[in-house]
């Protein structure tokens, strides 16, 4: 096999030897003297080259004197040798540690890649750079098997990232470890500063992070200065962004026809805007008004790296700006980094990492409404809820914006342009993250390391709006909200590590004590009303309205003791065992501490003497088991607090006070808060087994890694409603370790790299599958979310979390259908007619009103729902090709999901639910009017059988997306080390059957993974970039 390939290559090289003038030959060996076959030998800067033969010998014709020979071989470092006048050049190549021998950071230490026994993904950070994004996590999308990332086009947004799916009902964010500092937040890092990323996926690998590892761990290491003369890298890109998709909607005539039919069918008077006041000249395309904005984005990065024998330093500064693709938020970030290390003596090394950044977001994308303290409608929803018959601007209205009018053209949507004009939001975040460390070599193999880290983040938010009217029947007050959030964490880590080899036994041991203290302070003030639109000094002190303020302070401490033993025998048998004991202030003293153990092993089958499959270079089997934890819990949540507020939030949550005496004297009382806590709560835990295989064939050109996992997620904290007898005036639902679920799945990644002279290509692909099922519900729970009629999803025993819970839609009733129905058959209490929605009768109630499970000839919105669909993708995959030819290179990255059902909330909102006929309609909505149509008869009344949530809106949510392509050229010149220009595109093409705006979305919560939240869609970007190193 090998020989055939070599032959082919030799033949191809033959054609390059046309102008040979002299011959050069030699032998290539490895550092330890082994002959290396198949080494590429190329005269630098030309197409002339050859390949070493089976004993490492090569011969090459070169055109003239001088020149440089380049030796490249997979797994070894590139070597360049001046030819001068030599005719025989023998050389040895050093093994390249970036491949299998690469040192990989695995948490509290590092390991050779070949020694890894857990499911650890090593991310190719070079590939990541091609994905244009302000966040390193967004760049991970589609790159790592088992890591799913959902991105959004919102400026400055950080994509939602999950490793092996969502398992908990609080956060499912992985733990990020940035240069050793643990943080649960998405890291706000400059992607250019990242040197390496490792993802610890299984419990055995992540258990060293114990109680915080159950959602997986992403270890990010930033760049260090490289030994040598200072190198300066300058990188700049400019891009254009646009929303790539639309949902086609009805025009003014079509809207009027349907809305008239809806009123006629309900026996309600028609709205005049569709009737006598219909104005054929008004036909607003709201999407065009909102989406038709081209946004620019700029990224400039400057990095300096330098190093000597005893010190090295890396410095960078980055400026990133992104305008909004709708008139709205603009994101700007400036961040700097300084990493340095000094060797003070043979035994003592000190160093530091520090990044300081400032980012601002200006504008609106669903503003805060001070009247309700809630978000007002997002423009991405308003674009579909506004009607074509409403003009954008309408001088007859109070604020001059076109709005819905009762009895004329009815919609509750805010005028999205009014929102953008009147509501202003500004937020600014300043942050720093860094550490200082000392390493002390106590003796050979025994090292001590102390590091002290700080992580701070300070956010100011200010939002305000003029008074006015941008919504039907609603005049809003002016208002202003300001808030300050201060987050600060301090880390201390003491680590001691020991490495020893004797004979074929190799040991490494690490032990550490770590502590982390976090503090968060919040201050917020809101003024409702109080601003004169003329004055426009938007400060709280200028308010004449009522101002309310709030403030709070949170603290938490985690203390950990941990240790790990890695052992291998002769690079054949590997064992890794870890133990971590975590104590957290979040739990009561008796539940505070928990031990998280893990063990894993590997067997390098290919190292065995009996293993003689030629084309397999490396075959390793891995197995591991571990217990890791999680806490979906805030601070102090194990103690019940005393409630003694006179003023409650509303009439359903009143304060505690009572009036005594004949006059208006009020006395404030005190009682336990309705938010009853359970002191018994403890860590949530994942117990997971992982089986893996690593396979390398064809001289390391083809690499495959696969993992299968099965785990039990136990003691999941869920909000458990308590009986009223507990004494709370509203239903008390404390967090209790009440739920268990099983999760299992597999992941596979394959890569193929080939270098054929000046033509190189690499293909990488990954695919993963994950699934969960609820195996235990305690405390009398029957399901995890309410059964109220607005709920479209459920979480029940035996099903996965967030399955759809909907009426089973069967099309519309024909005349024959109606004739065949029993006379007392009803849908939502009414006898169905031809053209009405037909649902499957699945359940019924007895005379006392209790469910029987037997169809009763009555379709009810609540009772006849079925559990259906699969909101969690069956497969998530990514596929990447890198090509390079001479100075040109090209990469194409495709990413997608399959086997996922989604609920099209755009269509549901526009044609049913309680807002049916208060919105525009999708273009392919074909309601039954005058004996024609395939969709249910429009009916104006809320709760009518034709306006219900049903499986009609379940769609195939699979998609395949050309996420990224890049074409670049390294321009040959002598002024600098490297000059590269490139063009690139993102979200260029999407293939999907989903009719909503964007199939790539994250449901609002873990319970609603398949409900489209109608949020900021992915945007299409084209950019131009320049990269210079000198």
């Amino acid at each position: 096999m090998k020989n055939i390939l070599l032959l082919v290559l030799n033949v191809s090289m033959f054609f390059n030897q046309a102008f040979s003038q002299r011959m050069i030959s030699g032998k290539v060996t490895s550092a330890d003297g082994n002959e290396l076959p198949g080494v590429n030998v190329i005269l630098k800067g030309t197409n002339s080259g050859t390949i070493s033969d089976i004993v490492g010998d090569y011969t090459l014709n070169i055109p003239e004197e001088g020149g440089v020979l380049e030796f490249t071989y997979i797994g070894f470092q590139k070597k360049e040798i001046d030819i001068g006048s030599k005719s025989i050049i023998n050389t040895s190549l050093n093994e390249d540690l970036t491949e299998l021998q690469e040192i990989v950071v695995i948490g509290y230490g590092s390991q050779r890649k070949s020694d890894i026994t857990g499911a650890v993904a090593i991310v190719d950070t070079d590939q990541l750079k091609k994905n244009y994004s302000s966040s390193i996590t967004d760049q991970l999308q589609g790159r790592v098997a088992g890591v799913s990332v959902t991105t959004s086009g919102k400026p400055g947004s950080i994509g939602d990232i999950k490793i092996r799916g969502a398992s908990f009902f609080g956060g499912n964010n992985p733990l990020y470890v940035i240069d050793g500092i643990l943080t649960g937040d998405n890291p706000n890092l400059n992607p250019s500063d990242v040197a390496s990323i490792q993802v610890l996926k299984d419990a055995a690998a992540s258990a060293i992070y114990g109680s915080r590892a159950a959602n997986g761990v992403i270890i990010i290491t930033t760049k260090k200065g490289v030994k040598g003369a200072p190198k300066i890298n300058f990188n700049s890109t400019v891009g254009m962004q646009k929303i790539p998709s639309r949902i086609n909607l009805k025009d003014n005539y079509e809207w009027a026809e349907i809305v008239n039919a809806a009123h006629d069918n309900a026996g309600a008077p028609r709205v005049s805007g569709a009737n006598e006041d219909f104005n054929e000249n008004i036909n607003t395309d709201w999407q065009n008004e909102i989406f038709d904005n081209t946004a620019f984005t700029y990224n400039t990065n400057l990095a300096i790296s330098a190093g000597g024998d005893n010190s090295n330093v890396y410095f960078s500064v980055n400026k990133f700006s992104q305008e909004g693709v709708i008139k709205g938020p603009q994101f700007d970030r400036i961040s700097t980094r300084l990493n340095s290390e000094f060797k003070l003596s043979k035994k003592i090394t000190v160093g530091q990492h520090l990044t300081v950044g400032n980012s601002t977001t200006n504008g609106t994308a669903g503003a805060i409404d001070p009247d309700t303290d809630g978000d007002i409608i997002s423009p991405f929803s308003a674009a579909f809820e506004m009607l074509p018959v409403i003009p954008i601007y309408d001088t007859a209205q109070m604020s001059g914006y076109g709005i819905g009018q009762i009895g004329k053209a009815q919609t509750w949507s805010e005028n999205p342009l009014g929102v953008m004009d009147l509501y202003k939001n500004f937020s600014e975040n300043s942050s720093f993250l860094g550490d200082i460390y000392v390493k002390y070599q106590i003796m050979k193999g025994l090292d001590f390391r102390l590091s002290i880290g700080l992580n701070g983040s300070f956010t100011n938010f200010k939002g305000y709006n003029e008074a006015g009217q941008i919504r039907m029947s609603t005049v809003h007050f002016s208002g202003l909200t300001e808030s300050r959030n201060e987050n600060f964490a301090l880390f201390i880590e003491n680590r001691i590590s020991y490495e020893k080899s004797f004979g074929k036994h190799n040991f490494s041991l690490v032990g550490a004590l770590t502590e982390q203290k976090g503090r968060e302070k919040l201050l917020a003030s809101t003024s409702v009303g109080g601003y004169d639109n003329e004055t426009n000094f938007w400060q709280l002190s200028n308010s004449t309205g009522s101002i309310s303020s709030s403030g709070s302070e949170m603290q938490s401490v985690i203390r950990s003791y941990l240790g790990r033993l890695n052992y291998n025998f002769d690079q054949k048998y590997f064992i890794s065992m870890a133990l971590r004991n975590d104590g957290s202030s979040k739990f009561a003293p008796e539940n505070r501490w928990s031990i998280f153990p893990s063990a894993s092993g590997g067997w390098a089958l290919s190292q065995e003497n009996f293993f003689n499959i030629q084309f397999i270079d490396n075959l390793k089997l891995r197995a591991g088991y571990g217990i890791v934890g999680n806490a979906s819990l805030g601070d102090y949540e194990y103690t019940t607090n005393i409630y003694r507020t006179a003023t409650g939030s509303d009439i359903y949550n009143p304060g505690v006070n009572y009036n005594l005496g004949p006059t208006s004297a009020s006395v404030i009382g005190a009682t336990r808060s309705d938010m009853l806590r359970n002191a018994d709560i403890s860590w949530e835990e994942l117990r997971e087994s992982n089986l893996g295989i690593d396979l390398e064939i064809l001289n390391g050109q083809l690499f495959f890694t696969g993992d299968y996992y099965k785990g039990q997620v136990n003691k999941i904290l869920a909000q458990v409603p308590l009986p009223g007898t507990v004494g709370a005036i509203t239903r008390s639902s404390p967090s209790i370790n009440a739920v268990s679920l099983q999760r299992k799945g597999w992941e596979a990644a394959i890569s193929y790299r080939k270098q054929a002279g000046i033509f190189q290509y690499a293909i990488t692909a990954n695919v993963s599958h994950t699934a969960n099922v609820i195996t235990e519900l305690n405390y009398g729970l029957t399901e995890l979310v309410g059964t109220d009629i607005s709920s479209k999803t459920t979480a029940r025993l035996g099903y996965s979390v967030g399955k759809f819970y909907l009426l089973d839609y069967q099309g519309i009733y024909t005349a024959e259908d109606i004739a065949g129905l029993p006379s007392d058959f009803t849908v939502q209490g009414e006898t169905p007619q031809v053209g009405d929605a037909k649902y499957k009768d699945t359940n019924g109630r007895n005379e006392n009103g209790f469910l029987t499970g037997v169809p009763d000839g009555k379709i009810s919105r609540d009772d006849d729902r079925i559990i259906t669909g699969s909101p969690i993708p069956n497969l998530i995959y990514g596929f990447n090709i890198d090509l390079s030819y001479k100075i040109f290179d090209c990469s194409i990255f495709v990413q997608g999901i399959s086997g996922r059902d989604v609920y099209n909330t755009y269509y549901s909102l526009m044609t049913t639910e309680d807002f049916g006929h208060f919105t525009n309609y999708p273009y392919d909505y074909d309601p039954y009017i005058n004996g024609q149509g395939t969709d249910p008869r429009p009916h104006f009344f809320q709760g009518h059988g034709n306006n219900l949530e049903s499986t009609k809106f379940l769609e195939n949510g699979a998609y395949l997306r050309l996420k990224n392509f890049q074409i670049g050229a390294n321009i040959p010149q002598k002024m600098m080390e490297n000059l590269r220009v490139y063009v690139s595109g993102q979200n260029v093409l999407t293939f999907t059957n989903y009719k909503g705006l964007d199939p790539e979305f994250e449901g609002g919560s873990v319970f609603t993974p398949g409900l489209d939240p109608r949020a900021y869609p992915s945007v299409r970007t084209f950019m131009l970039g320049l990269d210079i190193t000198f």
């Binding site: 106590i442 001590f448 102390l450 201390i492 003491n494 004590l513 502590e515 982390q516 203290k517 302070e553 949170m554 603290q555 401490v557 203390r559 104590g583 202030s585 003293p589 505070r592 601070d635 102090y636 103690t639 607090n641 005393i642 006179a646 003023t647 409650g648 509303d650 009439i651 304060g655 006070n657 009572y658 009036n659 005594l660 005496g661 004949p662 006059t663 208006s664 009020s666 006395v667 404030i668 009382g669 005190a670 009682t671 336990r672 009853l676 018994d680 409603p721 009986p723 009223g724 007898t725 507990v726 004494g727 709370a728 005036i729 509203t730 008390s732 009398g780 109630r845 006392n848 009103g849």
Partner: protein, 499 residues
């Protein structure tokens, strides 16, 4: 040298280990008091009992639903709305998770829970008034059970201590809750102050008289008139209470101390600025919805006709009629509108009156908002106690002695003394007369529901007075179904028979 190095290493490691362990794992919440660190002083206990009183004003209880539910469930109120909300009044259960019932259950148990926080902590706190504060809480527990047992029967959740998240209380056995109520009230009576021993600023707190009256009611619901009689007698002899000269003054906000009120829920019109909860009452008795009042329940014809059976001494209608009902002969306005305006708006021909009592006319005309009534709701009125005493005497064979107490009530309203109008009634006839007296004196005050139960009259035969009883099923409808959500969440409870 070698030793020196080792010492140095050990020194450094020790130093560094000290740097660790510098954070404390036990953190106090800086934002609010935790339950474990509260409950230290007598004032904490006082605040606790205030919270228990506050429960009376919850929407599920006297600020909102209780008057509607208990009147709707008895024959002095009827409701025609087909809304599922009112299904209990028609004894038709579509779903035992009826909001009205669920809220009442939750809020009465909240009152019990808040009270037990006081009772269970009182033993650990010293102070002059600790015992009497504890006694107030005991009264409130008994009051909650008195209502719960009447509505849901005796086999409901037995809660007699502070509940934790892990508590799923057992179902009470027959008699167990009555024993608990008696015990709590007997203990409370020993510690409670007389009304006159409280300062005016404490008006509204539980008095000894209130506890005695409630205990008497508890006994009488069990037909134990023997134990009730001396308790009622002691209240009368205490001279703490008296009938107001004018009957109607009980039902208006007067900002004064009412000597006829034995236990009131202290509502305020337009409450103090610091409050946002319901200090005011929900108006549920309007003939129909208008101007922020609700027409949940209307009086039955039987109530109206009861007033028409007897004229006062001067030959005029019973003066309590105009106070109690808005009726065809009303000359006053209801929310600014005369009877003729309302007449065409009644739900059906069976209904032609509305409750005028507690209808807050003085405020609703001007401030027509939903929850704006400020009149104190009198839960135990001296006139009620006088009539109960007469009933107890009659039951205990002292019918002739009983006349005097009925006459006190009648004469205050310019009615001829019963001793003249109907002298020498036998025991049964006297009881029948008392039933009438209680209707004309107490209608609209949430007593009839308990009266019917006490007299063994809570059954389908009430259909002759209230058409809603048509669907009443004897043996089932005499208690309401336990809310399904509670059964789901506590497997120790079981549904009442027939549901």
């Amino acid at each position: 040298m070698w030793i020196y190095k080792k010492v140095k290493i050990i020194f450094i490691i020790t130093l560094l280990l000290n740097v660790t362990s510098c954070f404390e794992l036990e953190l106090e919440n800086p934002n609010t008091v935790s339950e474990a660190s509260f409950w230290k002083s007598e004032n904490d206990l006082f605040q606790g009992v205030i919270a228990a009183y506050d429960a009376l004003q919850l929407g599920g209880l006297y600020a909102g639903n209780i008057p509607v539910i208990l009147t709707g469930l008895s024959d002095d109120g009827t409701g025609e709305s087909t809304n599922e909300y009112y299904a209990p009044f028609r004894f038709k259960i579509f779903n035992s998770n009826i909001y009205l019932s669920e809220m009442m259950w939750i809020h009465f148990y909240a009152m019990i829970g808040r009270s037990y926080q006081v009772i269970d902590r009182a033993v650990l706190i010293e102070g002059e008034n600790v015992k009497s504060i504890e006694a107030e809480a005991k009264f409130l527990v008994a009051l909650a059970y008195y209502n719960l047992v009447a509505v849901y029967g005796e086999n409901i959740a037995f809660v007699d201590r502070i509940q934790e998240a892990s508590d799923f209380p057992e179902r009470a056995e027959d008699g167990e809750l009555y024993t608990l109520m008696e015990q709590l009230l007997n203990e409370a009576i020993l510690e409670l102050k007389l009304a006159s021993e409280y300062s005016d600023a404490d008006y509204g707190r539980v008095t000894k008289g209130a506890a005695q009256a409630l205990l008497a009611k508890v006994y009488m619901q069990q037909k134990n008139f023997e134990y009730a009689e001396p308790l009622l007698k002691e209240i009368i002899n205490s001279n703490e209470y008296e009938l107001l000269p004018s009957y109607g003054d009980n039902f208006y906000e007067n900002n004064g101390i009412n000597k006829e009120a034995i236990f009131v829920i202290n509502f305020l019109h337009d409450g103090p600025a610091t409050e946002s909860n319901r200090t005011t009452r929900h108006q549920g008795f309007s003939p129909r919805e208008k101007l922020g009042t609700y027409g949940d329940v209307q009086p039955t014809q039987f109530v109206y006709e009861s007033f028409l059976t007897e004229l006062d001494i001067d030959g005029n209608p019973d003066p309590r009629l105009d106070v109690t009902l808005f009726h065809p002969g009303s000359t006053q306005l209801f929310i600014g509108e005369p009877y003729s305006w309302w007449e065409s708006r009644f739900r059906n021909s069976e209904i032609n009156t509305g409750y005028f009592k507690y209808s807050e006319q003085q405020f609703i005309e001007n401030f027509a908002t939903e929850f704006d009534g400020g009149t104190d709701f009198i839960l135990i009125r001296y006139a009620d106690v006088l009539l109960l005493y007469a009933e107890a005497l009659n039951e205990n064979g002292q019918t002739s002695e009983a006349y005097a107490y009925v006459d006190l009530v009648r004469q205050r309203s310019n009615m001829e003394p019963l001793s003249i109008a109907k002298p020498s009634l036998d025991k049964d006839s006297f009881l029948e007369q008392l039933k009438h007296e209680r209707v004309v004196e107490l209608s609209g005050e949430v007593t009839r529901f308990f009266d019917l139960k006490r007299w063994g009259m809570y059954n389908a035969s009430n259909v002759e007075r209230d058409p809603n009883f048509e669907t009443f099923v004897n043996g089932r409808s005499d208690v309401q179904p336990i809310p399904q959500s509670e059964l789901d969440l506590n497997k120790n409870l079981i549904q009442n028979p027939g549901y």
